[in-house]
Symmetry: C2
Subunit: 272 residues, 2 copies
């Protein structure tokens, strides 16, 4: 079994893969999120693991958008704690660091620490990829923000640990596949829908869930990119699409909304 | 009168300032969005103009978050069309370009053009700032994605125009001040609220608007950053907070929601 993730070896997404599938699974690192979707689409990988939201920074917009252009299902979710380290080549001391490389979201999550440090910040496409780059180029006057695991994989030194502003820093990932998951009794369902641009249309859509006492755990809007200022809504709710009250809500929503796409039902991850 | 905006001279935000206030206003370029908020907060600038959403990329999360840590009002909105150019030093030809610099959102908006071009993409903090940097460093093998205005200001060459994927590319800005605006009859109101984490709480909040036939033009969620997986909702609706039906909805919302912050009422921008 092969599981695709975005980033270099040592990325947080790779940790999410092992948390969900166990340590013996084969992994396929991908340069970007669309490569993860494509890899599962073409059945080169059986599963993909993609970040969907971070408890501090919010949604990963590109992941949301990719669900519109791919016909994949969500068959699981996994939540991991993010603990950022400042990582450099073994001979580099903190004083020697002139620039810090990392993914913009990781840099944003360490804003306080990095502002105190006062070095140049250089955004890159990946946390672990920045560590790999420092190693390959032998840069002695730079550091990267990434996981402890990334320092370990590339044989690099940890200059500081737990440098994120907020220790309650979690990322939630979706597990992608061609099918969603059977009912377990503790499930969630994710959908995309589009409400018409008239007063009360979003309200009408949410009414179908509220009147059946279905708990909405997340609502997110994204531009349709078809017409300016029109939005698709991404909704997560508690329950499996096979349960009667959920199936009824979805059927009713399909009547009132412009379009509905069911991404899938899956067992709830352990709550943090 | 002085108006603060984020970015270097030639930034799209600067165009938004002139569109709203006219060409004779004094502008204050700020390095980041929090500097714009601070400048208005401390009354160094009378107004600030900050991007809130783009019709393709969605919300500017940092702007949303800054409303929580500053006590400023929204007194206006302005929408401008984004038309990206590929810009380089006057002696640089397209063949010579090895890397393209710009703000990550601008690079994302030109994804198709840039993928065909196949050069290295280097994210920076600002579109116009990238043009300025190319000029100051005299880089002959690089280009930047920015506005025609930026090319003009820095005396640079336009290698390609209208390189964005979607010609329907607009950015909406908020005008910040210490007071919101009086009623004109064609107004919008922006608020932040937090719904409790129980079934139907978001529905209950939206009910107050739906039953009064108030049109919601935008809903956006952002992590509270206080507790993982708790969200604040940012809502825009048609009407002025001084109109009876809007005032009643807000009063009712204040009873059901955990907290409500009224950002202000302001005249609607021309619809695109």
């Amino acid at each position: 079994m092969k599981v695709a993730f975005q980033g270099e070896r040592g990325a947080y997404s790779e940790s999410a893969v092992y948390t969900f599938f166990g340590a013996s699974v084969e992994v396929k690192p991908c340069r970007d999120l669309s490569e993860v979707f494509d890899s599962v689409d073409k059945q080169d990988s059986q599963y993909g693991v993609v970040p969907i939201e971070n408890s501090l920074e919010g949604s990963v917009n590109q992941t949301y958008d990719l669900f519109l252009t791919h016909d994949l299902k969500v068959c699981g979710e996994v939540i991991i704690r993010i603990s950022h380290c400042l990582i450099a080549n073994p001979s580099t001391s903190l004083d020697a660091v002139k620039a810090v490389y990392s993914h913009p979201q990781a840099l944003a999550q360490c804003r306080n620490f990095l502002e105190r440090l006062g070095r140049e910040l250089i955004p890159t496409y990946d946390t672990a990829g920045s560590v790999k780059m420092l190693k390959e180029k032998g840069l002695k006057d730079a550091a990267a923000v990434a996981s402890e695991k990334a320092a370990e994989i590339y044989g690099m030194k940890i200059l500081a640990r737990e440098i994120q502003d907020n220790t309650e820093n979690y990322t939630r990932f979706f597990v992608l596949s061609h099918e969603d998951s059977p009912m377990t009794g503790k499930d969630k369902t994710s959908i995309i829908f589009s409400a018409s641009h008239t007063p009360g249309s979003l309200y009408t859509a949410l009414f179908e869930f509220a009147q059946r006492k279905i708990n909405l755990t997340r609502i997110e809007s994204r531009p349709t990119k078809q017409k300016p200022w029109e939005y698709n809504f991404y909704l997560d709710f508690e329950g499996h699409r096979g349960e009667a009250h959920c199936a009824e809500a979805l059927k009713a929503l399909e009547k009132s909304a412009l379009f509905v796409k069911i991404l899938g039902s899956y067992p709830k991850a352990a709550q943090r």
